[in-house]
């Protein structure tokens, strides 16, 4: 009887373990508001986490690249500004632990002018023990100042990136966001994408997620939503809730080995959704 109970308990535990969702890794490049009326100083948080669950925060490796590409209007070349000098190491606290992250307090001279600012971070590859491989996410987040569009729809020249077909900073709740997955400048047919909602509010002062979950998903498929691009690498997603949504194109980068192990290079794009007032 006792043995039967043990086996039964073991099976229950195993089944619980098996249905525990594998939340997607997302490199966050966060600021509270991406559509700004006017320019000025801005603080960004760079956190490697699982945004829907906000549980385990991974220790970020040193940042390889961190810069912004700005253009006001549709003409001319974007101006690139390196931002690595503004990086400062912080500890970001999720619901389960704290992990090494970074913040950047940008002075007003960086983004006073109107137009689009494409912020890009390329972190060093992170070793994911559970998968025995490295992961590296080329991450973009786009801010607009004053309403004059610029280079939001143009490639930033990353090895892998998601090219927006809609402005990432101007999306109403209930709308649709479209994009194209690119690898080395070419569309990725049938690219594998994961989408997660930033489900816990980031506290910029405490460097932590806080509060309750905005969404209580009924099934793991609704936590990390998986979709496929079409044959031209294009995809479209609905936007049912205001807030930040992360989109990751899995394995879209050209390099697949690092330090003798597998490397998953992924393109990440963050978009912000706003309720109609």
């Amino acid at each position: 009887m006792k043995r039967g109970l043990l086996i039964f308990t073991g099976l229950i535990a195993l089944s619980l373990f098996c249905i525990t969702p594998a939340w997607a890794h997302f490199q966050m490049l966060y600021t509270p508001q991406s559509a700004l009326e006017r320019g000025g100083g801005m603080t960004l948080k760079l956190v490697f986490t699982h945004p829907f669950d906000a549980g385990h925060t991974m220790d970020m490796e040193p940042v390889q690249e961190f810069y912004v590409m700005h253009r006001r209007g549709e003409e001319g070349e974007p101006r690139k500004t390196d931002l690595k000098e503004y990086l400062k190491e912080i500890n970001w606290t999720g619901r389960e632990n704290s992990g090494k992250a970074f913040e950047a307090k940008l002075p007003s001279k960086i983004m006073r002018s109107m137009g689009d600012y494409i912020f890009i971070v390329v972190p060093g590859p992170y070793y994911e023990k559970a998968d025995d491989e490295y992961i590296q996410q080329f991450t973009k987040m786009i801010v607009n100042v004053g309403g004059i569009p610029g280079n939001w729809h143009e490639p930033a020249g990353l090895p892998a990136e998601i090219l927006p077909l809609d402005k990432p900073y101007a999306n109403w709740t209930g709308g649709v966001f479209r994009g194209i997955v690119m690898s080395e400048g070419k569309p990725v047919p049938h690219a594998d994408l994961e989408i997660e909602y930033l489900n816990y509010k980031p506290n910029m002062e405490k460097n932590a997620f806080e509060g309750e979950a905005e969404i209580n998903a009924s099934h793991p498929s609704f936590e990390t939503m998986g979709i496929r691009a079409n044959a031209q690498g294009e995809f479209a997603i609905g936007l049912p809730k205001a807030g930040w949504w992360g989109i990751a194109a899995l394995g879209s980068g050209p390099v697949d080995q690092h330090n003798g192990k597998g490397l998953a290079q992924e393109a990440v794009l963050w978009i912000q959704v706003t309720d109609i007032p």
């Binding site: 006017r38 320019g39 003409e75 109107m114 309403g147 004059i148």
Partner: protein
């Protein structure tokens, strides 16, 4: 307040130019360089530039104290006036935006 001007400009543009094929809205912004100069830039919501649009600076009494126009890169810099002032982006009927000096910060 600036938002109000944006909205007003958009509304006027829509009402006055119903036959226009262009749906763009004028946008204008200024900031204080912190060295006794003011930098202003303009453009339109479709990303097109505003080169040669007249810029008129008035004092608190409404007197014109500076006239210029946006450069080929749609911006202009001028000496910061003493006391109250405002900056007008004069893009023609329905395309005018005026920013009071009290809303121009470093």
């Amino acid at each position: 307040m600036i938002k109000k001007y944006f909205v007003l400009a958009a509304v006027f543009g829509w009402l006055i130019l119903p036959g226009s094929a262009s749906a763009h809205t004028p946008l204008f912004s200024c900031f204080d360089n912190g060295d006794e100069t003011i930098f202003c830039e303009g453009g339109f919501s479709d990303g097109s530039g505003a080169a040669s649009v007249p810029i008129i600076v008035k004092d608190g009494e409404g007197n014109v104290i500076f006239k210029g126009e946006l450069s080929s890169t749609s911006d202009i810099e001028f000496k910061k006036p003493e006391g109250d002032y405002s900056v007008l982006f004069d893009g023609g009927e329905g395309h005018r935006i005026e920013i009071p000096g009290s809303k121009i910060f470093e």
